[in-house]
Each structure stands twice: as structure tokens, then as C-alpha cells.
């Protein structure tokens, strides 16, 4: 029976079997990069809003506290978005005829809500609670980034489960004293892990074994 394959196929097949491992690894890496890329996660992508609201101006410039607008952040799962009334507290006096703020004024006039576009969004099967995170010493900046430096608002982090678990697995590296959670410029001490361990004891933060239970976030 004649040879069907040329002798060179021996080498070729060895190379391709060996090479397949690399190709698969490369494909996996590329997919991994894609799903973590801002294109998919939306991190660092500016979201267009009905009013170009600047946290940089209001927080960084004027020094308004987070809780002036996000009122329920310490009490509820949802931080809360300010009602038009909150905007009008100031803007009936300052910049009261700026064309940029017309949507705010018309909302107030016509009693019709402003439809903001969600920036930080989690899937519907994830139940995140702002209040308990603040209570346990997770600062606003830890998840939302330097909001005081954002002229328009974007999502700072991927909000993927992997990212959540980074902290749930070792909270010591991320938490800060409770009195500093709203501080946009808190400087961690050199040994942050030691402070973290101390705060875990003080704030009775659950063990990673418990913090990584599925029902902590999914229900």
C-alpha cells in the first residue's frame, strides 16, 4: 500500500499539535482581554447625560459632600439620585438662566423627572447594598474612583464579579476608617494591610469564607 502522506507531514503534525496549545492559549488570552476591556465592561467610558453634570466642579471645586445628593447611601441599598428639587435649591439662584440647565428648569416647571443614564450598573441578579459597604469602611473612591476629578461621569471599575471578589477575598487591602469613607483624598498609611486587619476586628467584618458565599450577592 502506497504512502498517503509525505514524510514531511510527520514534522508538520508534531508542530501543529504543539502549536495548538499555544494557539488555544492565545485565543483564551485574547478573549480574556476582550471581556475585561472597557469596550465590554464600560469602564472609563463617559456616558452622555441629559445635562452635562460635572462632579469635578461640584465636588472637587465647590466641595459639596456626596450625601447632599446621594441621600440614602448610608441607609439603603440604593445610594439615591437627587430629585430635581435638590438641583434647584442652588440653581434657582445661581446660573438660573444658563441654557445648559434648561432641562433641569423644565423638569421642575413641568413636574417631569430628568431621565439620567445609569453609569454604574449591575446585572439584575446581583444585589449590592451601599449602606453596609460604607458601614464596613469601603470608601466611595474605592469603587467609584476620583469622582471629584471627573468633568463628566464614567464608571471607574469593571464591576465584574472578579473585581468584587478581589475585595471580598481580602478586604484588609481595601477598607479604611469609617470616618474617612466620604473623604476623596484619604491617604492610606504605609502598611495598609495592618490597618485593614485592625479595622476588620473593630468593624466585625465577616471572614472571606462567608463574604464569598453566593447568597451574599445573589438571591
Amino acid at each position: 500500500m502506497p504512502q498517503i502522506f509525505h514524510r514531511s507531514f510527520n514534522t508538520l503534525s508534531r508542530v501543529s499539535i504543539f502549536g495548538a496549545v499555544f494557539i488555544l492559549a492565545a485565543v483564551a488570552t485574547v478573549i480574556g482581554q476582550i471581556v475585561r476591556s472597557p469596550h465590554v465592561t464600560g469602564a472609563h467610558v463617559v456616558v452622555v447625560q441629559p445635562v452635562p453634570f460635572s462632579h469635578k466642579h461640584h465636588v472637587g471645586g465647590l466641595g459639596i459632600d456626596c450625601r447632599y445628593c446621594h441621600t440614602s447611601v448610608e441607609d439603603s441599598a440604593f445610594a439615591g439620585l437627587p430629585p430635581t428639587k435638590t438641583c434647584m435649591n442652588c440653581h434657582s439662584q445661581v446660573w438660573s438662566d444658563a441654557p445648559m440647565l434648561e432641562p433641569v428648569r423644565s423638569s421642575f416647571r413641568e413636574d417631569k423627572s430628568i431621565e439620567w443614564v445609569r453609569v454604574n450598573n449591575l446585572p439584575d441578579f446581583v444585589y449590592f447594598d451601599h449602606s453596609i459597604h460604607l458601614n464596613k469602611g469601603v470608601g466611595c473612591v474605592t469603587c467609584h474612583g476620583q469622582v471629584d476629578e471627573m468633568p463628566l461621569t464614567w464608571r471607574e471599575n469593571s464591576l465584574s464579579m472578579e473585581w468584587c471578589l478581589d475585595c471580598h477575598r481580602q478586604p484588609a487591602l481595601f477598607i479604611r476608617p469609617r470616618e474617612n469613607v466620604f473623604d476623596m483624598h484619604w491617604e492610606p498609611p504605609s502598611d495598609r494591610a495592618a490597618l485593614g486587619r485592625q479595622l476588620i476586628g473593630e468593624y466585625k467584618i465577616a471572614t472571606p469564607r462567608q463574604l464569598t458565599n453566593c447568597s451574599i450577592c445573589h438571591r
Binding site: V47, S72, F78, P83, W116, P123, D129, N135, R209, H218
Partner: protein, 927 residues
């Protein structure tokens, strides 16, 4: 086309379909208030006290509102008629609020119209009636306990002195009312104190699941069935197996008319001389424990209690009053009060008056507020036909139903969660109904409807109810009003008890003999009641107690009678009573009285909506005004068959003991199973969640099933899917029949997920979608589940439910409002099951941690536990020996379901306690 082209096109299609799955979700909007209401914290629910009117009587509730959407109701712990419990119907009523089939607009002769046009169209006919002193104006309502409505009706009758007000409830208390007049000379309401009763006899009275007081009865009754309490003893003679019969220590099935005879016999034996000639009574089939019963009743003078069923004739009710008087029970276990209903009438008589008025052409305007008389009126009244002869017909109704179709004007009625109003409970305690949401379809409530008849310009419900209560709540009205709204109780409104005495020469007419092949009993459906809840799928899919039927009614029949007539489940029979006939499929019900047939109302609707129309048969079609509860008919097998969907096809325990029974007072040892395992023990955590279910208390009323459905966004699946065994309830009530077909013992066992410590489901999940939490929860993570169903196959308790199809409704806009925001809505291909209400655990944990303390015992109440009228379910931390659940689990009667499998379930059961009389014949004892 070439084969090759075809394949390549298929590939392209598949690839396109795959890409479709990757499409980005649309950006979500956040829409804050313009001016925020004061109390609302976004993301946190608010609770309001209100009440659901059911057949006129208040069912006191606390309703939960999530950002303006009512999503869940529970009983009001402050109110004596609820004490925290809510019935299955109340739990399901939230669905009806969002029902897209509710009538959404005022219609005039079927054309869309407006409320304003209605008010102006009403003006001239009303002016004509006004000129005639109201002659020709008739009003038909259901039973009314609402003080405000009663006041408005009084005003109406003042303005139109010759107008007539009729009240009709298809499931009422006519017999009891007539009976109280026979006994005492006037109408009185009876109230029972089950907490004080040691020996109870029910003559066909299902006091645990029917009537406005049933939740309170269940609560008081079950409290006497716990160790440490002197146990009560319940004797039940009944025709249709009921949950009350299932809880009996001695039960005996008898035809309803034999129960009537038994009541006479009992009267004679207990010294009530009420019948002119006792010889007229033919004793029924001997009740084996009759002598024991009579002795027991006589030994418990003042602490016994005899009750008669609403279906029994007035004479039996009168006799029972006399018996209770003879036993010294009055003012001890039975109390009497003025009727709570604003104008107590016998409803069939009241409707009869209206019908004869219409027949004689004396009605010019007929306003029908609520009810559905075209469907529910006794068939011999020919109400639908007569109705069409009234010149001006107005209807206020939640649905555009059978009655609306025959009326000129239909006004959409507001749901109770949308309206201001009030209502009184069985004991008279009034509750202010407050709305949680603006009427979704601009509905009007009964007060506003009546206002259109009375006032120059109709007032709002809020103004009307406040005007009425002003001056009736003491001097500081605003404070009292806010207090009443907050508590859900208007203080000082409880009906006063009154002393009664038997009429002199008390006598009742002798029982009438029945004719016909079989006796026919009419009863309200256990799920959809009189038919008013027919369009509610949560109730339609709720397996009816004992029969476990869903989505249909059936003629219930005893196995012996079925054998005699050669009938099997689903065989259609034709019943004939005079000129009225009815075809109905039969369902064999062990423990049913022989030669007797039970028909449940509510089915056979022709205009109920997408859910309820065309299901089952209409029992009202052979119900006459002469025999509205017990009739007789001939029966004939037709040969046709109707498929019926039941959720449990096998009711024998087969020598195993899933439900265990203990005779009260006997010594029991804790089963003490070994916890040996090859797996290393799990490290302890802060809490260990567990549940204890007391089978002694459980009355099998189904309230937990619907409460769980409402709390956990559980979808309904429809009749054909139930027939495929795909119902989705996270907690089911298994029902076993023990001991023969004639008079078996009925055993109920609620089965949620057992949260096994050695959970068989967890080991077989290939994707880690079901895992074990450190606190012992068996978690189900929907977003990980790929739907292999291995877990369900490996679960010995069969509590896992799979979304075979897309059951959850993502499309209908109103149902988006119904969902509990704290629980994921599951999609097709996902397994789900009881989570121990993990959302409530997490809420409690977050609250406790923010306050820097441990979760308190009793702080977490699961949805099933909260609604249970019998307090059968207790949840908590079993690692704390002082917790209520740990103490219950330490009781010797605690046992594990299928404990021999060593799954170490966290949910365990407490054996059922029974208390049969030691002198009763062995074969007639429970346990």
C-alpha cells in the same frame, strides 16, 4: 438548492443567532422624583395598614409598598381578626391589582365613555326617581359591613325614601342568620372562643378555612394543639372532607341530610326538647363514637363548643344554639353580638324581593355595586333574563363580567389597594382602608359610586370616609385618624356582646326527607371562593386542600359511590334537578360521605378574563333558591371524560412514616439519628439557619404556598404544565390518606427545601450553581445554572423546580410592578427552589451589622411563617440553644423527613399530636 448551500445558510443563521445573544443591553435610566415625598427612602419598602374586604368582611392586612408599588400583603398583628395571619386569597389579591384583564374604562353599551359622562347621563333619570320619592330606584350590593357605606346608604334612603336596597352574597350565612332568629327571635352573630374550648363538635362546619373569622379560629385552635397546653378534642361529622375534618380526633363522614338528623338526635340526647315528635327522626348511620361524644360534652359543660355548618338548614343552627345553651357554653365559649353587617338580611330572600320587583316592572333604575349576580344568582330567579327588562342598569365592578355585559353603564371599580374606605371584621373591629397606589385604571370605589347617586357632585373616597369618621373618633380627630391609619384598627369599634335567651317554647320544624339519587352539596371553592377570584392564576394553580386539584372544579364523590356508579376520576356525569341539568367531571375523594356529591362554586365563568373564562363547570346552574346549599338530583354517567390536573397522584404512605403521629400525653423519645459522616465536619459560623414545622398545628390551608409565591416572584405555569408535573411552588403541602377509603386520616405536610447539611443536590451540580453557605443555606445561584437538572434528580425531597419554559412574564407592563425587587426573576432553563427567604436574612443581617449587634431571635420571619394562621412554621438560628427554633427542635417529637438517608436536613418536623378519647372504639381513633 444544493445541500451544501443549505448547510452553509444554516450555519450563517446559527452564527447570527449566536451573535444576537451577545447584543448589548440598552442603557438603563434612573428617573428620580422632581420633588421627593417625605417618607420614601429609595430602595426601602414602606408598610401601610389596610384591609381586604372579602364577602363584605375586613381581612386586616399590612401591605408592603416598594417605591410606590404594592408588592406583598401580610396579616395585621394588631388586629384581633388576623393577629398577623393572612389567608391564601388575601396573599393572592395583590396579583389581581395588576391583572391586565381588569376593566380599564367606563363603558356605555359597550362603548368607551367617561365618568363625567356617566354622572351627567345619570342626572335626568335620577331626577325622575327623585320626583317619585325614589320609587323605582333599586340598589343591589354585596354584604356591607363598612360603616361609611352604611351611612351613605342611609343618606340615599333619606333622599329617596321609597328606594330599595338589596344585599346578596352567594356564599353567605343565611342559614346561620335564620337559625339565630329561630332560637333567639332576632338576628345575632355568634363568636367562638376556641382557646377556651376543650371538647368541640363540628356538624359540617369547616371553621378553619371558611368564614370571616377562620384565621382567628385557626390561631386559637392550633394554640391548644401544642405540648404544654391542655389539648382540646375535636369531633367532626362532615360530608365533604375538609381541613377541619383532617384536624379532627374523631371524624365521621355522613351525608348532609343525615348530619341534620344527627343534630336532632343529639339535641334529644342532650336534653334539648325542641322537636314536637321525636319519632319523626330516623337515626342516621350510627356514628361509632356518639356515646363517647355525648359523655365528653357533658363532662365539659362550659368548656365545650358545638358548631353547625353554613350549609346546614336553619333548624340545625337553632338546635346548636339550644345545645350550647344546655351545655352552659354561652358566654364561655360562645358569645353573641349584634350583627356586624350593616343591615343583616337573608341574602337569597333579599335578592328574591328584587327579582319580584323587576318581574312586576317596578324597577326603573338598578345600580349593582360589586358582586356578580348574573353569574351567582340562584338559577330559578332567571336573573340575567329579568335584568334586561330594567330600563336603566348601572354596574360597578372590578371586571367587565357576566353582569356588566347586561348593563347599560359599567364603571370600573378600584381595587382595595387603590381605594379609601373602611370595613369591619367578624368581631366588629373596624379598619380604615387606605390606598397604596392611585387607581391604575381610574377606578371608582363603592363610596364614590354611591356619591354619584347621592351628592350633587360626586366626592372623593378620601373625603367621604373622613367626613363619616369626623366626630366619631373622639374630640381630637386628626390624632385619632392617624392612629387608626397606623394601627389598622379603629379603637372602640368592636361589637359589644349581648345576652340572649332562647325563645319560649323553643321548637324547630322536623327535617324534610330528600328525594333523588344523590344529595348535592354546594360549597364555595377552597381557592377561588364564589368565583370572584376566578381570574387569579395564583389561586387557580393553588392545589386545593385534600384533592390537590388545580385549574378546575370537580364533583367530589366517595369511592364507594363511584364504584357503584362505575365512575373514575374525570368521568363526566349529568346531574338533573327538576328542569336544571349540569355536566360535571367527578373526582373520587376518600372520606367523602356516600351517595353525596360536592360541587364547588366559582368555575364555569363566561366572562372572567384570560385566566378564568371557560374553566370547569358552573355549579350555580343547578342551584335553586329553594335549596341553595343542599339539593338532590339524579345522576347519570355520560361517557365523556375531562382531563383534570392534580399535583399529587399518590396519597398512601406505603408503610413509611413521612408524617408521624403521637397520642397526646404518651411518652416519646427524640429519634436521635447519628450524624456520622465521611466528610469532615463544617466549621461553625455565626449563625446556623434552620426551620421547624409543627404538623400538629398545620391545618393545610395553603396560605404559605401563595405567600411564598408572592414573596419570591414564583411564576404560574398553567393547567397543561401542572399535568406534566411542572408546577413551580417552592413549598407544597403533601397530603396523605391513612387507613382505608371510607374514613381515612388526612395528614398534611408542608415541604419546602430541607436545606440539607449533606445535600445530595450540591454534589452533582457540574457548574457549582448550588452550593452550601457557611450558615447552612443550600444556595441556588441562578446566573450560574445551566439547567442540567442533575440536582433535581438527586433531591430525595423533590423540592427543586425547573423553568422548563419561559414562565416568568417579562412582557406585560403591569406585572413588572408586581415583582419583589429583592428577588431575581428567573428565566427559562434555570433551576429554583426555596431559599429560606435569603433576601430577608440578608436584610436582617445588614440591619443588625449596621447597628453593631447580632440578629435577634424572631427578627427574620420567612414569608411562609409570617402568614401561617396556625403558627406552624418557625425559623431561626439553631446554633443558639435559646432560640425558639432550637427549643422546638429539642422537643422529643422533632424528627427528620427521610432521616435514614443521612441528608441531615435543617428543616425538621414536629410530630402531629392527636387526642382521641380513650374510650372510643380503637378503629375510630386517629393516630
Amino acid at each position: 438548492m444544493q445541500r451544501r448551500d443549505f448547510l452553509s445558510m444554516m450555519t450563517a443563521t446559527l452564527a447570527a443567532a449566536g451573535l444576537n445573544g451577545c447584543s448589548e443591553t440598552l442603557p438603563e435610566k434612573i428617573v428620580p422624583y422632581v420633588r421627593p415625598p417625605e417618607e420614601v427612602v429609595p430602595g426601602k419598602p414602606l408598610y401601610f395598614a389596610t384591609a381586604m374586604p372579602m364577602a363584605g368582611y375586613a381581612m386586616p392586612l399590612i401591605a408592603e409598598s416598594n417605591m410606590g408599588r404594592p408588592t406583598k400583603v401580610d396579616g395585621n398583628p394588631e388586629h384581633p381578626a388576623s393577629l398577623g395571619a393572612a389567608s391564601a386569597i388575601a396573599q393572592a389579591s395583590v396579583w389581581s391589582l395588576y391583572d391586565p384583564d381588569r376593566s380599564q374604562t367606563v363603558t356605555n353599551d359597550g362603548r368607551i365613555s367617561t365618568w363625567e359622562s356617566f354622572v351627567s347621563a345619570l342626572a335626568s333619570p335620577l331626577a325622575e326617581r327623585s320626583a317619585a320619592q325614589g320609587d323605582g330606584l333599586s340598589l343591589l350590593t354585596g354584604a356591607i359591613t363598612s360603616p361609611t357605606l352604611a351611612w351613605q346608604l342611609e343618606m340615599l334612603l333619606q333622599k329617596f325614601p321609597r328606594a330599595k336596597w338589596h344585599a346578596y352574597e352567594p356564599v353567605g350565612c343565611d342559614n346561620a342568620r335564620a337559625g339565630s332568629r329561630l332560637a333567639f327571635g332576632n338576628y345575632v352573630d355568634s363568636q367562638y372562643r376556641f382557646d377556651r374550648a376543650d371538647a368541640i363538635l363540628s356538624l359540617d362546619r369547616d371553621f378553619l378555612s371558611h368564614g370571616p373569622a377562620c384565621l382567628r379560629h385557626a390561631k386559637d385552635f392550633a394554640a391548644r394543639r401544642r405540648p404544654g397546653q391542655p389539648p382540646n378534642r375535636l369531633y367532626v361529622v362532615e360530608s365533604t372532607p375538609s381541613i377541619t375534618g383532617a384536624k379532627a380526633d374523631h371524624r365521621f363522614p355522613l351525608r348532609a341530610r343525615d348530619i341534620t338528623t344527627l343534630a336532632y338526635l343529639l339535641g334529644e340526647r342532650l336534653g334539648v326538647r325542641a322537636v314536637s315528635s321525636p319519632q319523626e327522626i330516623t337515626p342516621p348511620t350510627a356514628v361509632p363514637w356518639l356515646d363517647v361524644l355525648i359523655r365528653d360534652l357533658q363532662e365539659h359543660k362550659g368548656t365545650s363548643l358545638v358548631l353547625a355548618g353554613d350549609e346546614q338548614p336553619p333548624a340545625v343552627h337553632a338546635l346548636v344554639h339550644a345545645i350550647n345553651a344546655a351545655l352552659g357554653n354561652i358566654d364561655n365559649t360562645v358569645f353573641y353580638s349584634e350583627p356586624v353587617e350593616a343591615r343583616p338580611v337573608e341574602h337569597v330572600e333579599s335578592l328574591k324581593e328584587l327579582v319580584s320587583d323587576i318581574a312586576q316592572g317596578r324597577v326603573a333604575i338598578l345600580a349593582i355595586a360589586g358582586g356578580n349576580p348574573a353569574f351567582t344568582a340562584p338559577v330559578d330567579f332567571q336573573f340575567s333574563k329579568l335584568l334586561e327588562s330594567v330600563p336603566f342598569r348601572i354596574r360597578l365592578g372590578i371586571y367587565e363580567d357576566e353582569t356588566s355585559a347586561l348593563c347599560h353603564w359599567h364603571i370600573p371599580e378600584a381595587h382595595y389597594l387603590e381605594s379609601w374606605g373602611d370595613a369591619r371584621a367578624f368581631d366588629g373591629t373596624a379598619t380604615i382602608l387606605q390606598p397604596l397606589i392611585n387607581p391604575l385604571y381610574r377606578g371608582k370605589n363603592a363610596s364614590e359610586f354611591l356619591s354619584a347617586l347621592i351628592d350633587q357632585s360626586p366626592q372623593t373616597g378620601y373625603d367621604i370616609v373622613r367626613t363619616f369618621w369626623k366626630g366619631r373618633m373622639g374630640t381630637d380627630f386628626e390624632t385619632a385618624w392617624r392612629r387608626a391609619l397606623h394601627d389598622g384598627v379603629v379603637s372602640g369599634t368592636t361589637a359589644q356582646t349581648r345576652t340572649v335567651s332562647l325563645v319560649p317554647n323553643f321548637a324547630v320544624p322536623a327535617p324534610l326527607p330528600g328525594q333523588g339519587d344523590v344529595e348535592v352539596l354546594f360549597r364555595p371553592d377552597p381557592s377561588i371562593f364564589d368565583g370572584s377570584m376566578a381570574n387569579n392564576p395564583w389561586l387557580q394553580e393553588l392545589p386545593k386542600p385534600i384533592t390537590k386539584l388545580t385549574w378546575d372544579n370537580a364533583a367530589l364523590i366517595s369511592p364507594t359511590t363511584a364504584e357503584r356508579l362505575e365512575l373514575t376520576n374525570g368521568d363526566v356525569v349529568e346531574l338533573r334537578d327538576g328542569s336544571y341539568t349540569l355536566q360535571a367531571p367527578v373526582w373520587i375523594s376518600p372520606g367523602h360521605a356516600n351517595d353525596s356529591l360536592t360541587l364547588h362554586f366559582g368555575y364555569g365563568r363566561t366572562r372572567a378574563g384570560q385566566i378564568g373564562t371557560g374553566r370547569g363547570f358552573n355549579a350555580y346552574a343547578i342551584r335553586t333558591s329553594g335549596a341553595p346549599t343542599i339539593a338532590h338530583s339524579s345522576i347519570r354517567k355520560t361517557g365523556a371524560r375531562v382531563p383534570l390536573a392534580s399535583t399529587q397522584s399518590h396519597h398512601a404512605m406505603e408503610g413509611r412514616d413521612p408524617v408521624r403521629t403521637i397520642v397526646a400525653g404518651s411518652a416519646v423519645e427524640h429519634e436521635g439519628l447519628s450524624d456520622a459522616s465521611l466528610y469532615p465536619p463544617r466549621p461553625a459560623a455565626d449563625y446556623a439557619w434552620g426551620m421547624s414545622i409543627d404538623l400538629s398545628a398545620c391545618i393545610g390551608c395553603n396560605a404559605c404556598v401563595v405567600a411564598c409565591q408572592a414573596e419570591n416572584n414564583i411564576p404560574y405555569v398553567g393547567k397543561s404544565e401542572v399535568a406534566n408535573g411542572r408546577e413551580m411552588h417552592w413549598i407544597r403541602i403533601d397530603t396523605y390518606f391513612d387507613g382505608g377509603n371510607e374514613n381515612p386520616d388526612f395528614l398534611f405536610q408542608p415541604v419546602p427545601c430541607m436545606h440539607c447539611e449533606n445535600a445530595p443536590c450540591e454534589l452533582v451540580c457540574p457548574v457549582g450553581a448550588t452550593t452550601h453557605s457557611v450558615e447552612g443555606l443550600n444556595e441556588q445561584t441562578y446566573n450560574r445554572c445551566v439547567g442540567t437538572r442533575y440536582c433535581s434528580n438527586n433531591c430525595p425531597y423533590k423540592v427543586r423546580r425547573f423553568n422548563f419554559l419561559q414562565y416568568a412574564d417579562y412582557e406585560t407592563p403591569t406585572f413588572k410592578l408586581l415583582n419583589n425587587p429583592d428577588v431575581t426573576v428567573r428565566s427559562r432553563g434555570v433551576m429554583e427552589k426555596c431559599t429560606y427567604c435569603v433576601q430577608r436574612i440578608n436584610h436582617a443581617r445588614i440591619t443588625a451589622e449596621k447597628e453593631g449587634r447580632r440578629i435577634r431571635d424572631g427578627e427574620i420571619v420567612t414569608a411562609c411563617q409570617a402568614t401561617c394562621p396556625a403558627d406552624a412554621i418557625v425559623f431561626g438560628d439553631i446554633s443558639d440553644p435559646q432560640s425558639r427554633v432550637a427549643r422546638l427542635k429539642a422537643e422529643p417529637r422533632d424528627y427528620r423527613l427521610l432521616g435514614e438517608l443521612n441528608t441531615r436536613p435543617r428543616t425538621t418536623y414536629l410530630s402531629r399530636l392527636v387526642n382521641p378519647h380513650p374510650d372510643a372504639p380503637k378503629e375510630n381513633r386517629r393516630g
